[in-house]
């Protein structure tokens, strides 16, 4: 059963050094506030999992929280590179980063296998680069050579949803990514939400996760910024463009993290720090 707690308490209790942690959200509903809290609490040696590591993983990697990343597309969508991710891979700064490389379809199927509590999933895709998590398998019925991808079962999955109800059930809608699979594949689950409501209304493409699939719920309005929550906020494309500048330089990045993450109490304080920070190109519209 889900307990409603602060995000600080949820991360302190459920995210441990060395864990495999998935912060899922496909462009939409990215749990950025939770990523910041992990940085604030100085978690180390994490194996981070996510189809599309974007700004929040750039921050976690640059801040020294990660030893490995399992991923399928590591970029700043529509803008370019992730500078901190690249610095770690190309130059080992602030520490070397082990890469576990997938395609979207492979990592998606790894989560499906994880949620199904199966050891692997099969798909049709070419080429593959054999590794610990990918190999070929022959279909026992047709003889076709298929790709086998090892199940992904995170120690902790963290997602952001629009709503929880009083009983601790969670509902999200809009672009729903692989969140359902990532939650059901995990040992522990944290969900940040925009708000707690008395009752859910049916939504097109709504995904409901029962309270007994979740350990902790934290109310963090706007906790996806610069990503967004359908019907609550807009994607802050200027922030994504501005991140290119901040992240390009190690010192500028470090002082940004120091000022806006380490130097703030929580997400609300972080949002205030952006407004107070006219020197930064990321001072604008934390909508």
């Amino acid at each position: 059963m889900a307990e409603v707690v602060t995000l600080r308490a949820a991360v302190a209790e459920l995210v441990r050094d060395g864990d495999t942690v998935a912060l899922e959200g496909f462009t939409h509903l990215i749990p950025v506030a939770a990523g910041h809290e992990i940085i604030r609490q100085s978690r180390r040696r994490l194996r981070l999992v996510r189809l599309t590591p974007d700004i929040v993983y750039d921050q976690l990697i640059g801040a020294g929280c990660a030893r490995a990343v399992a991923f399928s597309w590591g970029g700043n969508p529509g803008v370019g590179s992730l500078r901190r991710f690249r610095d770690a891979v190309e130059n080992g700064w602030p520490q070397p980063l082990q890469l576990e490389e997938y395609s979207h379809a492979q990592l998606t199927n790894a989560f499906i296998a994880g949620a199904s509590r199966m050891p692997y999933a099969a798909l049709r895709e070419h080429p593959i680069h054999p590794s610990d998590h990918l190999t070929e398998v022959v279909c026992p019925f047709t003889g076709e050579v298929l790709v086998a991808v090892r199940a992904m079962n995170p120690d902790v999955t963290i997602i952001h949803a629009q709503q929880a109800d009083r009983a601790g059930n969670v509902m999200l809608w809009g672009i729903s990514g692989v969140q359902r699979e990532a939650v059901l594949a995990a040992e522990r689950v944290i969900v940040t939400v925009e708000e707690i409501v008395d009752q859910f209304w049916p939504r097109t493409n709504g995904v409901v996760l029962p309270t007994w699939t979740i350990d902790a719920i934290a109310v963090v309005p706007g906790g996806t910024h610069p990503s967004y929550a359908h019907d609550y906020s807009e994607r802050d494309n200027d922030f994504y463009r501005g991140w290119e500048d901040v992240s390009q330089d190690r010192e500028r990045f470090a002082s940004w993290i120091e000022r806006h993450v380490m130097g703030t109490e929580d997400w609300a304080d972080y949002r205030r720090s952006l407004i107070r920070s006219p020197a930064s190109s990321l001072d604008g519209s934390p909508s």
Binding site: T52, W73, H104, I175, S176, N237
Partner: protein, 241 residues
């Protein structure tokens, strides 16, 4: 010209799996001009998106709000793409070889890359299962190379009917569109062959910008210059962003 030529390649009514950037711009241009019934499918799970403004990412809210249906990522890849519902996949890359294989992973050695690129994303699945693949890439010896630094995505593998022998369901790359011209695979060898030049471009220019001895079609033609209407639509699309 690259965007306009790519847009023209899409036929009305097709279901096209669109990546962000040039493919998305071209697909939207096509939908607003000659192909009003083009079905735009984005890997974030939006099917039948009709964006008013060009999205910055494949998951912008605009794509979801204007879609016929929004499905999860497992669904879009397993049921809709692998399930065989996609006619055309639209890809870009950092490097391409003579058989249309693509690299979006690293420049240099994998273990010690000169440049770490974003990686595979949806491309390998798209190139495997889409009915055909349209690739757009700027033309230079750095992008059109004799040997890829890393094979992320399969085109025609090592040529000939290698795709069929490997059991890949889609036809693979049927066209590569660059800023200089258009290349199509030879029917026998599957090797990319220059079939069209863009206005004002000469053959020498193209061969010099290609990292392997490029085959030239016997009957080389020219693409029509962008029409006034195409340019106006393109400007409108870009301005709206």
């Amino acid at each position: 010209m690259m965007t306009v030529a790519a847009a023209r390649w899409l036929r009305d009514g097709e279901r096209v799996f669109v990546g962000i950037g040039l493919p998305s711009t071209a697909a939207n241009l096509a939908r607003r001009s000659h192909a009003p019934n083009l079905v735009l499918v984005y890997e974030s799970g939006t099917i039948g998106s009709k964006p008013e403004v060009l999205p910055l990412s494949i998951g912008d809210g605009e794509l979801a709000v204007t879609a016929d249906v929004v499905v999860s990522v497992p669904e879009i890849f397993n049921y809709w793409l692998q399930g065989g519902w996609i006619d055309v996949g639209f890809l870009g890359a950092a490097q391409l070889d003579r058989f249309g294989n693509l690299n979006t992973t690293v420049i240099g050695e994998y273990a010690r890359p000169d440049v770490r690129l974003p990686g595979a994303g949806g491309a390998p699945a798209i190139a495997t299962s889409a009915g055909e693949v349209v690739t757009v890439i700027p033309h230079s010896t750095r992008t059109l190379v004799a040997e890829l630094d890393f094979v992320t995505t399969s085109g025609h593998l090592d040529g000939g009917d290698a795709r069929r022998r490997r059991g890949l369901p889609g036809r693979g790359p049927t066209v590569v569109i660059t800023d200089l011209g258009i290349m199509e695979p030879d029917l026998q060898s599957s090797e990319l062959t220059l079939t069209k030049l863009h206005p004002g471009v000469e053959v020498d220019q193209v061969t010099q910008a290609t990292g392997w001895p490029l085959r030239i079609a016997d009957r080389l033609s020219r693409t029509d210059p962008p029409s006034r209407a195409e340019l106006d639509l393109l400007r409108e699309l870009k301005a709206a962003r």
